[in-house]
């Protein structure tokens, strides 16, 4: 097979708009920068203190590695090219929040147009909270949700409008001291979504946000907090595409989710980062009694992704489902996986990880399944499948198990496969070209993931994969 990776200039979403930002913090990280961010946002003192404390943590903490954190494991040398002093930590895209579509600046609308946002919005979106650079500029929520008492806004707004609710949970699932990047995010965070679903309320339509970085060398540090109160249900969807940068860019988000008794939360992500982005994300949920957390996580692109959606099942009967795919191409490393911790009896978790590596790309499944002392009757099932498309590409599976109770069940299954000559021959013998046949096999491989996506995302996902594969099959 001839191999040709789409070059940087071919990157599908690699268009870049004129920079319309009103305020841009100076490069580098300092106490002054953090204070300036907080001042610009007009934050209360407690948030400024939270940020400054986190900044101290950041300075103190070593780079995370498997030696000092079971949540976040940076491989030696992986981040050598990342210079914290060469990043802009805050960019305010326009002076104020757009309340309706009409008020959103034209320049920003154009970017959304290219990403297909308004079209998607016209369909069945409950609320669109689209993050452009560091702050949410457009946010629209359907009346229906509002009437049910559902809060869906950007996290900056939540600081002002729902300070007590936010403060009760903010930083409780992922404290700043968790790891160096959680500390960094806590110090300079901006944007992200805040969702509160009251007791017994079931949001039938997914809540969606669209993320996009659009400023060279700018880090994006969004902070998302979701609280699903007792017996509620919410599905949150985010998709990301980023334009090309000439130098490396950092994306380091923190997502915290609290799923209360008998509630269910599903969080769906598709990330398609440009191939020069470091994507270092801490995502974690806490499940209380009979609560159910589902992560559906797709990672395409980026230079390095390190992301392990986690669920801590604190209450009896907690349930965790983590479904992820990762695609690594030339020069890319997807270090992804999942972490589940059962701390109470009769918790069940399922992890399905699908990865594809091509053109020298590297995929690593890094997982943790942990059973605490009181986890009797709990079960975990882990399945990792890797599809390697050529001889230069590699895959690793690094499962880590921690078992402190005898009465548990743990199943682990891992497969590594290649697109077989016989499969290609079979499909081609029915008239499909080699690239159509390969694409079909790949689509089939990730189908367990795509079938869980809302329709329009499934379509987008298939397009992304198709685009990713077009360059690699001759």
């Amino acid at each position: 097979m001839a191999t040709q990776m789409p070059e940087f200039s071919d990157y599908k979403y690699g268009f870049r708009d004129k920079d319309v930002s009103v305020y841009r913090a100076k490069r580098g990280l300092s106490r002054e920068v953090v204070e300036e961010i907080s001042r610009m946002k007009g934050e209360p003192d407690w948030m400024l203190e939270f940020r400054l404390k986190a900044l101290e943590q950041f300075y103190k903490m070593p780079m995370p590695s498997s030696m000092n954190s079971k949540w976040f494991s940076i491989l030696p040398g992986k981040l050598d090219e990342l210079n914290f002093d060469d990043i802009t930590y805050y960019v305010k895209p326009s002076e104020r929040q757009g309340r309706s579509w009409d008020e959103v600046p034209e320049e920003i609308k154009k970017t959304f147009d290219k990403l297909g946002i308004p079209e998607a919005e016209q369909k069945f979106l409950a609320g669109v909270s689209a993050q452009y650079e560091s702050e949410v500029v457009y946010h629209n929520m359907q009346k229906e949700l509002e009437e049910q008492g559902v809060i869906f806004c950007d996290t900056d707004t939540a600081v002002k409008e729902y300070p007590e609710l936010l403060r009760e949970y903010f930083g409780t699932v992922v404290p700043p001291s968790d790891n160096k990047f959680a500390a960094l995010n806590s110090a300079v965070w901006s944007g992200g979504s805040f969702i509160y679903v009251p007791k017994g309320v079931k949001c039938e339509i997914p809540l969606q946000a669209y993320f996009r970085i659009n400023s060279e060398n700018m880090g994006q540090f969004e902070r998302t907090l979701i609280i699903a109160d007792e017996g509620s249900f919410v599905h949150y969807v985010e998709g990301c595409t980023a334009p090309i940068y000439s130098t490396d860019s950092l994306h380091s988000a923190v997502v915290e989710i609290v799923v209360k008794d008998n509630a269910r939360c599903r969080y769906t992500t598709i990330q398609n980062w440009a191939p020069n982005i470091y994507n270092l994300v801490t995502k974690r949920a806490v499940c209380e009694r009979n609560a159910h957390m589902e992560w559906v996580d797709g990672n395409i692109g980026s230079k390095l992704t390190m992301k392990y959606p986690a669920v801590i099942m604190k209450g009896e009967g907690g349930k965790a489902d983590i479904l992820s795919i990762a695609v690594a191409g030339k020069g890319q490393h997807q270090d992804a996986g999942a972490k589940v911790v059962a701390l109470a009896p009769n918790c069940t978790s399922t992890i399905i990880s699908k990865s594809i590596s091509k053109q020298g790309g590297k995929v690593t499944y890094r997982g943790l399944t942990s059973f605490g002392r009181n986890s009797q009757g709990s079960k975990a099932n882990v399945k990792c499948d890797t599809l390697i498309l050529d001889n230069e590409s590699t895959s690793d599976t690094i499962p880590y198990n921690e078992i402190k109770n005898d009465d548990i069940t743990l199943e682990h299954e891992a497969t590594v496969s290649k697109v077989s000559e016989d499969q290609l021959f079979y499909l081609m013998s029915r008239g499909l070209s080699e690239s159509e046949a390969t694409q079909m096999i790949i689509m089939g491989f990730i189908e367990p993931f795509t079938k869980e996506l809302p329709m329009e995302y499934a379509v987008e996902m298939n397009r992304l994969i198709k685009f990713e594969m077009e360059g690699s099959i001759g």
Binding site: F425, Y426, S433, E434, M440, I446
Partner: protein, 261 residues
Amino acid sequence: MSVPKLTIKDLHVAVEGKEILKGVNLEVKGGEIHAIMGPNGTGKSTLASALMGHPKYEVTSGTVTLDDQDLLEMAVDERARAGLFLAMQYPSEISGVTNSDFLRSAINAKRGEGNEISLMKFIRELDKKMELLEMDESFATRYLNEGFSGGEKKRNEILQMLMLQPRIAILDEIDSGLDIDALKVVAKGVNSMRSPEFGCLIITHYQRLLNYIKPDFVHVFMQGRIVKSGGPELAERLEAEGYDWVKEELGIEDEAANPTA
């Protein structure tokens, strides 16, 4: 439409450097059904795979044309689009791809861009063919061959043939592992294709299938080539008496294509 014609002349094929086919000559035309019979290991399936273009099989000499086009110059998918079909002995399983999605892609690959089959028409056709083959509706949404029993896979191969409407079909041991009811259904499918625009080459060990699909020509395959040809009565005699009399008649001691001496 013109009458299809597959012409094989002095075909030699090697696998991993070993010659398996040693000069096959055969012509299959529209309206004809040919049966190739022979013991195991004589190269029958090699012929099927080599005609379709499996990369493992290397054509060392000879020619094959389909409607006067050089088949051996074509890639596998081009052969399919030119109207050749192979019902495989061991069809691959493709996880995550539904039977109907696959079939529609295959039909559209043949029809070409801008001429895709409408979804409604496709569904109508599929329903019709599945009914003919007594296949449960669930087949359409099951993943391609995944978890199919041997018989289900064979039926699925015939379904693909009916949907793709090839000009020339090769059925490689389509009867193996089938019970009598399934065999009848498969035969019904093949017979429904019979027309001057369709030629068929059936490869089989047993005469059983030929009770239901009446061949026009029967060929005996040994030592990597056709050693004897005749009409349907040849198949009946082979079923009744085995292959020994053919070997005796032709002075063949070891019928295998690649004898392990």
